[in-house]
Symmetry: C2
Subunit: 259 residues, 2 copies
Amino acid sequence: MRRLEVIGIEGLPEIREGDDLVALFFDALHEMGMELEDGDAIVITSKIIAKSEGQVVSLSDVEVSEEAKRLAAETGKDPRIVQLILNETRELVRVGMKMIIVETRHGFVCANAGVDESNVGMGKAVLLPRDPQASAAQLRREIEERSGRRISVLVSDTFGRAFREGVTGICIGVSGLPALLDRRGERDRFGKVARITREAIADEICAAANLVMGEFSEGIPITIVRAHGLTGALSSEREREHESGIEEVLLTRDKDLFR
Amino acid sequence: MRRLEVIGIEGLPEIREGDDLVALFFDALHEMGMELEDGDAIVITSKIIAKSEGQVVSLSDVEVSEEAKRLAAETGKDPRIVQLILNETRELVRVGMKMIIVETRHGFVCANAGVDESNVGMGKAVLLPRDPQASAAQLRREIEERSGRRISVLVSDTFGRAFREGVTGICIGVSGLPALLDRRGERDRFGKVARITREAIADEICAAANLVMGEFSEGIPITIVRAHGLTGALSSEREREHESGIEEVLLTRDKDLFR
């Protein structure tokens, strides 16, 4: 049977600066009586990576610039949050409807530069991880070393989208798997050759994981996505040489019809 | 264990106009030795629904307008395909980089109005289903009647996105489940109240399904997404009164920062 499983890893503690995420992950696996398998995709929320890196800011420490004050007045946001957003921003993409959409210094187009006040103490906010792509690669190495399995790691966040309401799980760092599954050149059942289809499997995996993670109080920050009988996206036989990471999926401004 | 399964339904034949999708689906389930369970989300690609409705067009039958010729020259597309796109279009959103992004007559913002030449015979193209939301509701009723289970039906397609390369599975019709899981008002682990998070679970479910469906030659047009131990998104206890369908997720122009 062709089947995909998304397994929530339970029992992880609240993450603090300096915590060893890999050790805590293996402890939780052990508690659940689970073992990793070749081909597992391990999806980790950006939030716990950011917390382990100490990317938590006390709002009372933020010095607010004139630009932040102006944007805060325009959008109805806390000026200190706006300042944190600006600190993480390479370029403002859209401001309006009480939203600030930016390109972050990492190249992600999203609301509020990923600065988030949820699931962190009162008066605090969490930034995105320093370098989510590097975190994915580093975590993959550590998990592979410890488990002896060939796995992939995806760092997930939740972003809104153009044209549609609501947020979905999305990938901001990936190692061990291509961000895009390139199907150009494959033939369909009628012998036609695919011309343009590249499937954003890293984003789809993070979307699937988000269904199990829950966005708010449920709090499952790590999931394992495991494929059974699938020869495509997630199989362990997949070519792994191709490690272009999440950058491959990010449209630069000159290729983007919506900037 | 909190777990989600995405199960590919195999053995479905090539779908033709007038085929009874529900009967074929139950035949395939039977062949696989599977039964439906309460809470199952059944994801069906728009393509087989469109084919069953006869939404397949021979390009040689298309009469090409002047506007279609002009857009075809501008984008390098087949003028007959452009005509089909225009026929399905409420509004052109962006034209450029060899792409035509439109709002379809159903309200979906996507490339080529969903007109697709893959997995249909040479010289032919498939349109989107006539009314994917109505199809979702109708298929749900029929499947529930026949199975005695309370299930949901999602009609999926694959769309590109702003800001990111690649396509992902996305929902264009949903019945039995809200398109958006509204978490506003829930409290996080620190007691903060969520202000804006609405999770687009219908799109996430279709993204998860697309990992199993494969985009091209693999051809699994129906999947079952089954939750185990999840109290949120997909559980059978979920409130089902709220049947607003896919419209809930579609941003109207006046609420859309990117139009």
